[in-house]
């Protein structure tokens, strides 16, 4: 059906236990949406034949590294691209092993939707619950569960209904805002792109139809304006035309909300107020702009603004702080106890920080915080952090961009942890005290 819609971009991340069929499903989505080209398919068919397989193993389309193909597993996130008439998709195919939880966190951090695989024969497993908890923690707006291998349970409605009901109950425990389910066979293609005649008891949309219909991200018109300053554009005599020698604009990407010329804003952490004098792009001035657009802002008053500052709507600006209560996913194989002095990167500001206390670690099965003194690889825990400079941090539950941060080892430069301000699982607001144990 031809439409006049402007095409949109949706970011997906896959999740699920190893062997649930993630790579096969992604291969199937690409194949059935005609996004796999003939030479790629030839290569997959050739390798499949060499291995004595009867059918082309579509998982080979996404398992790109030599070691992955040799071991038949996915090691690292692979990015895939496919498009339908109205929508372009960026898909992060994440590995399922428990030791790769950090990759699921990585994929989920930018996702508009998580596509979670469940093996119909096995139902909801510990790993399913973990991945749903990660999606809830990272505040991914939508989760679509593909109940896979439905061919191996004889396309039985009862099995599907039971799995779907279990999922709904986990989703409500976790406070997931939107969870949908669809019965599929990734291997044979049922309900992936086209409706299957073998599941006539299922009247809902196919997986691809669901993905085509999901709203993209949040509507900026309902968000508070936030703009981390990346750098000052002040070309002076290097300006590309004489008219811009005096130009001074603050370059950045709108993190959330809408900005209009004349809006009252506050620059944080200094707290100075001013108004927006102009919104510029290389293509000309704009009267308004919204997330996630990259622009350059001119301010009415000549105040001190630099990289690392946050320009925010004056009516809703956060209070800068040096003390954070945060939830982190530990990404390094060196435990937290060896890293009490770290760098903290929040929006465009990097500051020194001290981890002052570990409050506990999240038990992903019960979704409860249990006492702990240290965090190791893949642990999700609650920390107290003191920063050297004040930062305009906000609860991650309300602001995905200004609520997120990284912890970095100042010596090796390694990324140690993905951090979220407050308790994202508790929902809106900063219920820091609920974390006390």
């Amino acid at each position: 059906m031809p439409t006049t819609h402007q095409p949109t971009l949706l970011r997906l991340a896959t999740a699920g236990s190893v062997d649930d069929g993630k790579s096969t499903l992604v291969g199937r989505l690409l194949h059935d949406s005609k996004s796999v080209l003939a030479d790629q398919l030839d290569a997959v068919e050739r390798v499949s034949r060499d291995r004595g397989l009867a059918h082309a193993d579509l998982a080979l389309l996404t398992d790109g590294l030599r070691a992955e193909r040799e071991q038949g597993i996915t090691i690292d996130v692979a990015y895939r691209y496919f498009a339908t008439a109205d929508r372009s998709f960026i898909l992060a195919d994440c590995p399922g092993h428990v030791q790769y939880t950090r990759n699921t966190v990585t994929g989920a951090s930018t996702a508009d939707a998580v596509v979670l695989l469940v093996d119909a024969r096995k139902g909801v497993l510990e790993q399913t619950r973990r991945h749903l908890a990660v999606a809830a923690l990272l505040r991914v707006p939508h989760v679509v569960v593909a109940v896979n291998k439905i061919d191996l349970v004889n396309f039985d409605e009862g099995v599907y209904r039971k799995v779907a009901a279990d999922l709904a109950s986990v989703a409500s425990d976790l406070g997931l805002p939107d969870l949908r389910t669809v019965p599929v066979s990734a291997l044979e293609g049922d309900n992936v792109v086209d409706h299957s005649s073998r599941t006539d008891w299922y009247a809902g949309p196919s997986l691809l139809e669901i993905l085509e219909d999901l709203p993209v991200a949040d509507d900026p018109s309902h968000e508070e304006f936030r703009f981390p300053v990346q750098l000052t554009l002040r070309p002076q005599e290097a300006a590309r035309d004489a008219a811009h020698r005096e130009y001074r604009g603050y370059a950045g990407q709108i993190a959330s909300g809408v900005v209009r010329v004349g809006d009252e804003v506050v620059v944080l952490p200094s707290g100075r107020r001013t108004t927006i004098a102009g919104i510029d792009t290389a293509d000309g001035e704009l009267a308004e702009a919204f997330a996630p657009r990259s622009v350059s802002l001119r301010l009415t008053d000549d105040i001190d603004v630099a990289r690392g500052d946050l320009i925010a709507a004056a009516s809703s600006a956060p209070e800068p702080t040096r003390d954070l209560v945060a939830t982190v996913c530990w990404l390094s194989d060196v435990p937290l106890s060896r890293h009490t002095r770290v760098l903290l990167k929040h929006t465009t500001r990097t500051t020194r920080a001290i981890i002052s206390a570990v409050d506990g670690v999240l038990d992903l099965d019960t979704v409860q915080i249990v006492p702990a003194e240290d965090l190791g690889l893949n642990d999700i825990g609650r920390l107290r952090i003191r920063t050297a400079e004040p930062i305009a941090a906000e609860p991650y539950a309300r602001h995905r961009r200004t609520g997120a941060f990284l912890l970095i080892d100042g010596q090796s430069g390694q990324t140690l942890a993905a951090g979220m301000v407050g308790d994202p699982l508790a929902g809106e607001g900063d219920h820091a005290d609920e974390w006390d144990i």
Binding site: D39, G64, R66, A78, S88, T110, R240, H244, T347
Partner: protein, 316 residues
């Protein structure tokens, strides 16, 4: 579908219409501009790899937009195989002059002339680019190197980060990459290390062409259909030129062709095409059944993991 369902669907569609949603090319452009600005703010000596190929041309266009009304705040680097299409070199010099940027050139030919590198038996010089590239990075102490690699190009590239840390050998360690979360890029590196940055990671070939059309970006003429003397080798159409001569068994014919990628002339194939304008190319790319590399690059056909192996050695 019941009536209520239909009404609900219509309402949902209407709501979706009134939402503020950035067009997908604007979304990709904004993401790339954000990446350029992060690098300019956090690195001392960035450089942009520029060959005159379409991905590098789009990168330069995005960089110019990111720093407007100021100049592009870093130089360009061309690793010159010596196997160039003359019109691409001419284009390169035109583009550099127009944008007012400095161009550094590292020449594979210099290495061959003084014996540091030898031509391979298959004649391709693409794999020979790695050493001049790494030497140029060390000599100029570049700490961030922008490349036009896209994840849709090739399966090893599909695993590449936007900020990709390289050691002093330029090696890519795919099993030990830094996790990349949100849009918080960690570019910390130690002396001798550098970061490869891929601002158009998330663009597909079709996105690049739609953007070229939308922005009216000028490209080397060989990206559009033209008459050329070619001969067939291993299923590819190679141009007749100083470094790509037909063997006795190969017959030269004149065909209407265009290029989907430009690289080492001796191993970059042309495709038969009627796409004379940028709009024609967009239509052609949308309908193609072959990948960009599969159609045009002999060197990637060497093995299942040819690109992965070259990247581990410091290639882009």
């Amino acid at each position: 579908m019941t009536t209520t369902e239909t009404v609900e669907k219509a309402e949902a569609a209407e709501q979706a219409e009134s939402r503020l949603t950035l067009d997908y090319l604007d979304t990709l452009e904004s993401e790339s501009i954000h990446i350029f600005r992060e690098v300019a703010a956090e690195f001392e000596r960035p450089v942009l790899m520029f060959s005159g190929g379409k991905d590098s041309v789009v990168m330069l266009h995005l960089a110019a937009k990111a720093f407007w009304p100021g100049p592009v705040p870093f130089p360009l680097l061309h690793v010159d195989t010596g196997h160039n299409f003359p019109e691409v070199l001419a284009y390169r010099d035109r583009a550099v002059a127009e944008k007012g940027v400095r161009l550094e050139v590292a020449k594979v030919q210099d290495y061959i002339d003084d014996g540091r590198l030898f031509d391979r038996t298959d004649g391709t010089r693409n794999p020979l680019q790695t050493q001049p590239l790494l030497d140029a990075i060390a000599e100029h102490r570049f700490d961030a190197v922008f490349g036009g690699g896209r994840r849709d190009e090739e399966k090893a590239r599909a695993k590449e980060r936007i900020f990709s840390l390289r050691d002093e050998f330029g090696a890519w360690d795919p099993r030990n990459q830094r996790p990349e979360l949100w849009n918080l890029y960690n570019g910390r590196h130690r002396p001798g290390e550098h970061v490869r940055v891929f601002p158009v990671s998330n663009w597909t070939e079709l996105d690049i062409w739609r953007y070229i059309a939308r922005e009216g970006i000028d490209l080397p003429e060989l990206y559009y259909a033209h008459q050329r003397e070619v001969f067939e080798r291993e299923g590819m159409l190679l141009a007749v030129g100083p470094v790509s001569q037909p063997r006795a068994t190969e017959t030269v014919v004149t065909k209407q062709v265009r290029y989907r990628t430009v690289g080492d002339m001796s191993c970059t194939g042309a495709v038969e095409s009627d796409a004379v304008t940028v709009e024609d190319v967009v239509v052609e790319v949308a309908a193609t059944r072959l990948t960009e590399r599969g159609a045009t690059r002999a060197d990637d056909r060497i093995s299942e993991a040819a690109m992965e192996d070259r990247k581990k050695e410091g290639y882009f």
